[in-house]
């Protein structure tokens, strides 16, 4: 009956909006659609923040007295340019006025931070886990080679939306994102940018829907290692061979055929999810707002995390 499946798709799509919007918000336990419904987990991830201590790079201090470090709780899911306005204002008065209007850039441990990756991802990947995370602020010598510039917030928006679209292309052949109106896109972005969980998830939940028992077409997943930055593979949520849900472990084997769980640490949002967790569920709940599951893989010896 597989032939029937595609011909019915438009009908199915109409039903989606129907069954998700029943009252009470609860979950789709009995529905014919699955979706991200574990609010507790979603909320926990949304509220996850990092204490960051920003300090002006020593060589750029222009004033007699070096400025105090600037401390902030930074949402893990956001991008740096969305949260560093105040930081910039704080330090701009302490640098050479000639460069004070330059674009600010961040550096940790000698490595410039790419703003176009979520803050939490960068932290998991490159920090050694010490809190607060000490970041140096630079106004001079923008590392054009490594970091692309962020001229305005619209640049972040278009970066964010393009990743989101790619994710939906993998999940639903882009049908869901394309069926949305401009105001929905707007709501996604404003909700994300302004830290408004309900506003964001009001729309995002539609991106997280899939037919019950099937899951997404493909899981938007990227793996990061400190050496080889980002990798992407096609990962199916269901293993057709034995008709079971793909686990995180299975997914990682797609990336690293000789994957050995004892030699590495797997980090998403700063935690190590059990390797038997279904990738579908992880994708629904542990994806970043850009709808990608960003998985950080660190060699075990790298993991001297002080408690």
């Amino acid at each position: 009956m597989s032939s029937g499946r595609y011909s019915f798709r438009p009908t199915t799509k109409v039903k989606k909006t129907r069954s998700t919007n029943y009252l009470g918000g609860g979950g789709g336990g009995g529905g014919r659609l699955r979706m991200a419904d574990d609010r507790e987990v979603l909320r926990e991830i949304w509220d996850s923040k990092l204490p960051v201590s920003f300090a002006l790079a020593e060589e750029e201090v222009y004033t007699v007295k070096p400025p105090e470090p600037y401390y902030l709780m930074v949402p893990r899911l956001l991008y740096f340019p969305l949260v560093t306005d105040k930081v910039r204002r704080h330090f701009a008065q302490h640098v050479n006025p000639e460069i004070a209007n330059n674009e600010m850039w961040l550096e940790y441990n000698g490595q410039p931070i790419k703003w176009n990756h979520p803050i939490g991802l960068w932290f998991d990947l490159f920090s050694d886990g010490i809190l607060p995370w000490s970041i140096s602020i630079h106004f001079d010598k923008f590392p054009e080679q490594n970091v692309c510039r962020c001229p305005c917030k619209d640049a972040i928006r278009s970066q964010f939306m393009s990743v989101l679209k790619e994710a939906d292309a993998l999940k639903h052949k882009g049908q869901v994102i394309n069926s949305m109106q401009e105001k929905d896109h707007n709501q996604l972005w404003l909700g994300f940018q302004n830290d408004k969980f309900d506003q964001f998830w009001g729309v995002n939940k539609r991106l997280m829907e899939s037919p019950a028992g099937e899951g997404f077409r493909n899981i938007p997943i990227r793996c990061y290692t400190p050496e080889k930055f980002a990798m992407q593979r096609l990962v199916k949520p269901v293993d057709d061979a034995n008709n079971s849900w793909t686990s995180l472990h299975d997914a990682l084997i797609e990336f690293f055929p000789d994957f050995d769980a004892s030699k590495v640490r797997i980090l998403i949002h700063g935690i190590e999810p059990p390797l038997n967790s279904p990738i579908q569920w992880l994708s629904e709940h542990l994806s970043y707002p850009d709808n990608f599951l960003h998985v950080v893989i660190l060699p075990t010896n790298f993991s001297s995390v002080p408690s």
Binding site: M1, T17, N21, G24, G29, V41, L78, V83, Q199, P274
Partner: protein, 1172 residues
């Protein structure tokens, strides 16, 4: 199927599923459908709905061997090895129970008074009600499968009056009867009734043979279908073919009379002999003759299910061998083993004047074919030596005949097939995936194999009998659906959550400021709506609705007309009260505490509606701990179910409507002070004075322009600040002393504070402060707006209200998904609800949480029947016609009243959660009866209608009906196999919880096996009751009370209901038992209380009237009496609590009004209060 099969009975097939409504349940994993199969030894097996499905042999104490089997609505009919027809009724919770009624008629004669000696023209001594049908007062039962439950009883109530001996008197038959005997009473009659029970369950009961000698004319084929009417009991159309080629119809076969009454010979055209019969879903039989033609019955009506005439059709070329009918499709096999399908829908073709049957040939050599009742499943057997079972794939709404044959099981040595299936609407809507989960079973293939997926699972521990020949079932998706294989949450979820929480702990050491400050100006949501505030303006306004991020709902029309309310003040949200795509909110009233206001939003589309419904509900959700009285259940007139309670809300209500003054030139700034400006409130304004400023003013105004509590008016020309107030249409005395603080072009901070006695303004510029104080002239209570006019720029305003000391108890409701007519709760936290289709649902959500969690959700369905009336007037030219009417007449299509024009097409479904079950059909169950075509006649509109045309009847009408089904996901579980009109939850004498229910016919049932682990219980048992009841109620330590259809109250002693009295003036309609009191409602909507009810004298003394205007009463566990009171508004009623109930005043003193709303039914029996 040919007759050779009868002699060489190598195989049998059957399959049964149930009617459509049951299959819907199957979707909720509670399948009530069963597949039956016959093995080589003639034993019948049932594939139950256990998980995994397992075969069990049908209990067969009489050792009847079955060759062929058909089923309908849980009942099986089969042809036994003696070629007779048997019926098998599986034992279910509630058996078949039939009430027999006869009328005893007597005539008075001067010698010995009333006696049995009637005149020759009179009716029989015992007759039917009309007297036309003589009956016997006998002990004879229809068959030995029945048993009398009791002896004949006298009906001792007449028109809600109690009468001795039950006699009613009249001058003559047929006439009007009176309970009193008078001098002209010459005849009398009374009603006797008796119940009989079907006891032949779980065994094969032989249906009488055609002749004394059953070998004379054995049967060779049998088929059954149902009339597509939703009546109870359902009519089963049982057709059979005998060896002589004759066709028989079993009369009066219904689900409550599975044996039928007698065989009716339906002669076919002379010279033809029938060989096979199939019955379509709607009961139409198709009979194949030996000559290769087929014929079918026309003129089927609910009153005449066997139809009126045969119509014959030649069938496809080659001569028919076999035919199989679905709802719309007709599949056939010809003698040359070709497979054919009828082009078009047969019901449409049959209706044409000259039906043209056009057949399409399909590839493949087949010897047997079977189609499911809903056309969706077609199976065929190939005609090769080792025949293979084929499934037709690709059947869809567009491609009714499918695309190709797909082999499903090879080497199936079968020679006949039949598929009976009904499929839920969802499948028809395109859930093609679930069609893969058909079940096909035979000994060598385990039961869970699905046709279509072709992967044979390897479970070897199946419990299939080895001797199984084969069975094939297409029981829709009930046994395997995709939902069940959906991802389940495992222990990893807990690990992840714990890790996340640990991570959170780590960062609690850092108290850095947040990088993102909640920005106060950004809205969260905005949508275009129409807005109606019933008590303030009577018309719809156009504008935008917004939820701001400090949780205020705001409606504005281009920011001009504003209405504002805190989401926390939304007490209830109703879906469709005011129509499709609307939300109606019950909100706290800012002016008059305790009386809720209603505002309605009309959205542009369904999506917005649902989205906003969800958002507002979520924001307005209150934790259960906050409730001082919780767990009141209430159902609205639109069948929404709400869980409600009373809650103490500390903050004053925030609702303001602000009409900004006409935009004259100097208007600058408006700020609604939504929480008032009570003492200790303050306002901080950042202002700047432009160059060349002359004057500006800052005003604290009330809700209207008429009150200005504080007018602050600096005048630069006079260099003074004028302070004043405006009330009752005039300005007060000006205060203009003090230093002038302002200079052009400067910025200031202005602070306005309200103290108990004064309004104090402080102007700050750098370190200089200028203070004015203004004694209250108008109470600060009325302040709710800040207006700024003139030459000033306000760059920001901060408002810090002091919250009023308001501790009103507010009635708050929270909607749960579901569609119900009635709800009853129990003090064990359970709740049961009855839908409009009378199905019974048990609440599976948490009793501790107001929010519904995902685990308890299931599919909830309900049905709604839409009616419209076709009206016609008789005229001499064309007879009855809907087109030629008098000018004063109603339209040809109207609602019941005739005032509202309503065509069939005008009736639309309220939302996309609804779907039509079937097309429009004439309703034969219209009150007052109908004729064979569904018409009711009357002298004129509007009048009393009767089923048969009389000489002076000039108008007629008939009712059309169409059933719509709602499907939602909600925390409810169906208690299967039962339809109830009333229920009550109580703890019985053994301290077990039970649910008392009343069936439509007034019988009492009890749900037992209820435990905390299994709130839905395990089984229904019937509780004998001789009188049909309409209301029932029980409470621990109290007797069960009931109200009969006759309006009398009944109390249950030992094993029977004992008749009690009723109020003098009126019959009762509802009774409610509380822990210490018994209450009842009369049909006149008066509330009655039972006096002197004591443990030793539980039936009390009498009903005394307490008050009028009560629609429904309920008793809370704390003994409080609640009720729904009538209001002037027919749509709304008021929930109220009886106050002042005491020893001296057991009836209470008055009502405390709690909440007015569109309530229909409530239950407080599960409510509890919380002392904080």
């Amino acid at each position: 199927m040919c007759s050779c099969r009868n002699t060489n009975c190598q195989l049998m097939l059957v399959l049964a599923s149930t009617n459509e409504s049951i299959l819907m349940m199957s979707f909720s994993k509670e399948s009530d459908s069963t597949v039956y199969g016959v093995d080589y030894n003639g034993k019948v097996w049932a594939l139950g709905n256990s998980n995994p499905p397992a075969w069990t042999r049908l209990h067969n104490p009489t050792n009847v061997n079955i060759k062929r089997l058909v089923s309908f609505s849980h009942i099986l009919w089969g042809i036994g090895s003696d070629h007779q027809i048997y019926v098998y009724v599986p034992k279910r919770d509630i058996g078949i129970r039939v009430r027999e009624e006869i009328w005893e008629n007597q005539r008075w004669n001067p010698i010995d008074g009333f006696g049995k000696h009637l005149l020759p023209t009179d009716r029989a001594p015992f007759s039917s009600e009309s007297g036309t049908e003589p009956r016997e007062k006998s002990d004879k039962l229809p068959s030995d499968a029945w048993k009398w439950e009791c002896d004949w009883q006298i009906e001792n109530t007449f028109e809600n009056e109690l009468i001795a001996e039950g006699w009613t008197y009249a001058l003559d038959f047929p006439a009007t009867y009176h309970p009193e005997k008078t001098f002209k009473s010459f005849v009398r009659r009374r009603k006797l009734f008796r119940y009989r029970k079907f006891v032949g369950t779980n065994r094969w009961n032989k249906i009488e043979s055609l002749h004394q000698d059953h070998t004379q004319e054995p049967f060779i084929d049998v088929a059954v279908g149902g009339l597509n009417n939703l009546s109870t009991p359902e009519t089963c159309c049982l057709w059979a073919v005998s060896i002589l080629g004759e066709v028989y119809f079993r009369n009066n076969t219904t689900t409550s009379n599975p044996e039928g009454l007698h065989w009716k010979h339906i002669p076919i055209r002379k010279g033809l002999e029938a060989c096979q019969v199939t019955v379509a879903r709607n009961g139409t039989p198709f009979v194949v003759s030996w000559t290769g033609t087929f014929f079918y019955r026309i003129g089927l009506t609910p009153k005449n299910p066997q139809g009126s005439d045969w119509l014959e059709s030649p069938g496809p070329p080659g001569g028919l061998l076999q035919i199989s009918a679905g709802t719309n499709c007709l599949w056939a096999i010809t003698r040359d083993k070709k497979c054919w399908v009828l082009k078009g829908n047969w019901p449409d073709i049959v209706q044409q004047r000259e039906p043209m049957f056009e057949w399409i040939e399909l590839p493949g050599q087949m010897k047997n074919i079977a189609v499911g009742m809903k056309d969706d499943i077609v199976l065929a057997l190939s005609d090769e030596e080792f025949s293979c079972l084929f499934l037709r794939v690709g059947i869809s709404e567009d491609q009714k005949y499918g695309q190709s044959w797909k082999p499903v099981l090879k080497d199936a040595d079968w020679d006949s097939l039949s598929v009976v299936s009904t499929v839920s609407n969802d499948m028809m809507d395109g859930k093609a995936d679930s069609m893969e989960s058909l079940v096909s079973l035979r000994p060598d293939v385990p039961p869970s194999t699905s046709i279509g997926t072709n992967n044979v699972s390897d479970s070897s521990n199946s419990t299939i009998p080895n001797s199984f020949c084969w069975v094939d079932g297409a029981c829709a998706s009930c046994l395997r659906t995709g939902v069940e294989t959906d991802l389940e949450v495992g222990p990893w979820r807990e690990d992840i959550l714990q890790d996340l929480q640990k991570l959170k702990l780590k960062r609690t050491n850092f108290s850095y400021p947040d990088a993102l400050e909640p920005s106060s100006t950004s809205w969260s949501k905005s949508v275009r709506v129409k807005f109606l505030h019933l008590s303030r303006n009577k018309r719809w306004l156009d504008g935008h609705l917004e939820i701001s991020n400090n949780n205020h709902l705001m409606f504005h029309e281009n920011l001009e007309k504003t209405w504002l309310c805190s989401v926390g003040d939304v007490l209830s949200i109703f879906g469709t009260v005011a129509g499709v795509n609307t939300l109606t909110c019950r909100i706290r009233n800012s002016l008059e505490p305790g009386v809720a206001e209603y505002v309605t939003f009309k959205f542009m589309n369904e999506k917005d509606t649902e989205e906003w419904h969800e958002s507002i509900s979520e924001l307005a959700l209150r934790p259960l701990e906050d409730f001082s009285i919780a767990d009141i259940w209430i159902v609205t007139r639109d069948a929404e179910i709400h869980r409600a309670g009373q809650i103490k809300i500390l903050e004053g209500p925030v609702e303001a409507e602000v009409v900004t003054s006409e935009p004259n030139g100097d208007f600058q700034f408006h700020y609604p002070l939504v929480r008032g400006f009570m003492p200790d409130s303050s306002l901080l304004l950042d202002i700047s004075i432009p160059k060349g400023a002359e004057r500006f003013s800052i005003n604290l105004k009330g809700n209207t322009e008429a009150v200005n509590a504080f007018h602050y008016n600096p005048r630069f020309s006079d260099a003074c600040v004028i302070r004043n107030s405006y009330d009752n249409g005039e300005w007060g005395e000006e205060e203009r002393d003090g230093v002038f603080p302002f200079r052009e072009g400067m910025s200031y901070t202005m602070c306005i504070e309200c103290t108990q006695t004064h309004i104090i303004t402080t102007i700050t510029q750098k370190k200089t402060k200028f203070i004015f104080s203004f004694k209250h002239r108008v109470s600060p209570k009325c302040i709710c707006n800040l207006f700024v006019y003139g030459d000033i720029n306000v760059s920001s305003a901060r408002y810090d209200p002091k919250l009023g000391e308001s501790y009103d108890l507010e009635f708050v409701t929270q909607q749960l998904p579901g569609h119900f007519y009635k709800v009853e709760a129990g003090s064990n936290g359970s709740a049961w609800a009855i839908g409009y289709d009378l199905k019974v649902w048990c609440f599976t959500g948490s009793s501790k949480q107001q929010k519904v969690d995902g685990t308890s959700l299931g599919v909830v369905t309900d049905e709604h029947t839409y009616y419209c009336y076709e009206n016609q007037r008789w005229n001499p030219a064309t007879g009855f016609s809907g087109n030629v009417m008098l000018p004063t007449d109603r339209h040809g299509w109207t609602d019941e009243s005739g005032r509202i024009r309503m065509e069939k097409l005008d009736i639309r479904l309220p939302s996309n959660r609804w779907a039509w079950v079937a097309d429009w059909a004439v309703d034969y169950d219209t009150p007052h009866g109908v004729n064979d075509d569904g018409w009711q006649f009357a002298v004129d509109f509007p009048a009393s209608y009767h089923p048969n045309k009389r000489i002076n009847d000039f108008v007629r009408r008939r009712r059309w009906k169409r059933v719509a089904r709602l499907t939602v996901v909600g925390p409810w579980q169906l208690a299967e196999g039962m339809k109830l009109v009333d229920l009550s939850i109580r703890m019985n004498e053994d301290c077990e919880w039970e649910v008392l229910g009343l069936q439509e016919n007034g019988d009492v049932v009890v749900r037992s096996g209820i435990s905390p682990e299994c709130p839905i219980g395990t089984a229904w048992d019937s509780l004998s009751s001789e009188k049909p009841l309409i209301s029932i109620s029980g409470w621990y330590g109290q007797r069960i009370w009931a109200v009969g259809k006759d309006g009398f109250s009944y109390i249950r002693y030992a094993h029977s209901f004992q008749l009690l009295d009723r109020p003098n003036d009126t019959p009762l309609k509802q009774v409610k038992v509380g822990s210490s009191s018994i209450w009842a409602i009369g049909t006149n909507n008066a509330l009655y209380r039972r006096t002197e009810v004591q443990a030793i004298f539980p039936e009390g003394r009498e009903w005394i009237r307490v008050c009028d205007g009560v629609l429904q009463v309920g008793v809370a566990p704390d003994g409080n009496v609640w009720a729904l009171l009538k209001t002037n508004d027919t749509y709304r009623c008021t929930l109220a609590k009886r106050m002042g109930i005491s020893q001296n005043n057991p009836g209470g003193l008055g009502w405390e009004l709690i909440a007015t709303g569109p309530w229909r039914h409530f239950s407080v029996a599960g409510s509890f209060s919380r002392n904080k």
